[in-house]
């Protein structure tokens, strides 16, 4: 059995910790980025849901589709383009109306579409001059 002198031992393992750190750090960076992305998606989802709620409220008090779309767009300034779907288009007092809002967000090279839906009961007196 040969005894390695201390100075030679240092040379042998010198930099191994730094090399291993370099191997681990990208993994940590990817994980942190993924968590931040998921948190961003959840935030977008909540904002989108708020827009859908505003749209449902507008739909319950008006007959105009344009007013509903305007109300949703005004509630969602964070999104460049939102698709708004109101069903049914012809509503009568006491019946449910559903507003579905969809928006696209890009996550690096990947694009994903988020949707939110809210419903309300059409109110007895519906008016086309609703203001949010």
């Amino acid at each position: 059995m040969s005894i390695i002198p201390p100075a030679q031992r240092w040379r042998k393992s010198d930099g191994s910790a730094a090399l291993e750190s370099v191997m681990v750090l990208p993994v940590v960076a990817v994980i942190v980025a993924a968590l931040v992305a998921v948190a961003g998606i959840i935030t977008d989802l909540v904002i989108l849901h708020d827009g859908a709620r505003t749209g449902a409220r507008a739909a319950a008090t008006t007959t105009s589709q344009r007013v509903v779309v305007d109300a949703v767009e005004a509630a969602l300034p964070e999104f460049a383009h939102v698709a708004v779907n109101v069903s049914p288009q012809h509503r009568s007092p006491g019946t449910p109306v559903t507003v579905e809002v969809a928006a696209t967000r890009s996550l690096g090279p990947v694009e994903h579409t988020l949707t939110a839906r809210a419903s309300a009961i059409t109110e007895p007196v519906i008016d086309s001059s609703w203001t949010p």
Partner: protein, 151 residues
């Protein structure tokens, strides 16, 4: 990992194997953080949905006091909650009054939170029927406005 004869890690030897120790630790922390983020997100989204349902239910119940709507306030509140994927837990929809208070709940879809007892999240809303001046409480086509707040 090697230990020196006196039990203290020697400088370079103590550093070797850092990745083999750090990698599982990083993975474990990532899994825990992922579960926390997903569960917190699911709870927040469910809370937003519950508030939407509570607002809609309270407004529907208040609107049912108008003469054009035949079903009772309770039924209107339940219908509004159901179309929003919620369940009415409590409805202070006593006839005669202009104000209703509704509490609804929505199921939480998470990885761990539902197993820890937080299966549903509740929200509360209050709505008040305001009739235009000059009309009797039981007549006319009153406009319905709602005021809702979380409880």
């Amino acid at each position: 990992m090697k230990r020196a004869r006196n039990g203290v890690l020697s400088g370079a030897e103590g550093q070797s194997g850092f990745a083999s120790l750090a990698f599982p630790l990083v993975l474990w922390v990532a899994v825990v953080a992922g579960v926390v983020v997903i569960d917190a997100g699911a709870y927040v989204v469910a809370a937003a949905r519950a508030q939407t349902a509570a607002d809609a239910a309270a407004l529907a119940a208040a609107a049912s006091a108008a003469p054009m709507i035949a079903p009772s306030a309770q039924r209107q509140a339940e219908q509004a909650a159901v179309v929003n994927g919620a369940r009415v837990e409590y409805c202070d929809c006593a006839g005669g009054g202009d104000q209703v208070r509704v509490e609804v709940s929505v199921a939480v879809a998470g990885l761990l939170v539902p197993h820890l007892g937080a299966t549903r999240v509740t929200a509360e809303a209050t709505a008040q029927l305001r009739r235009p001046a000059g009309l009797s409480p039981t007549g006319g086509l009153g406009d319905v406005f709602g005021s809702a707040g979380s409880g």
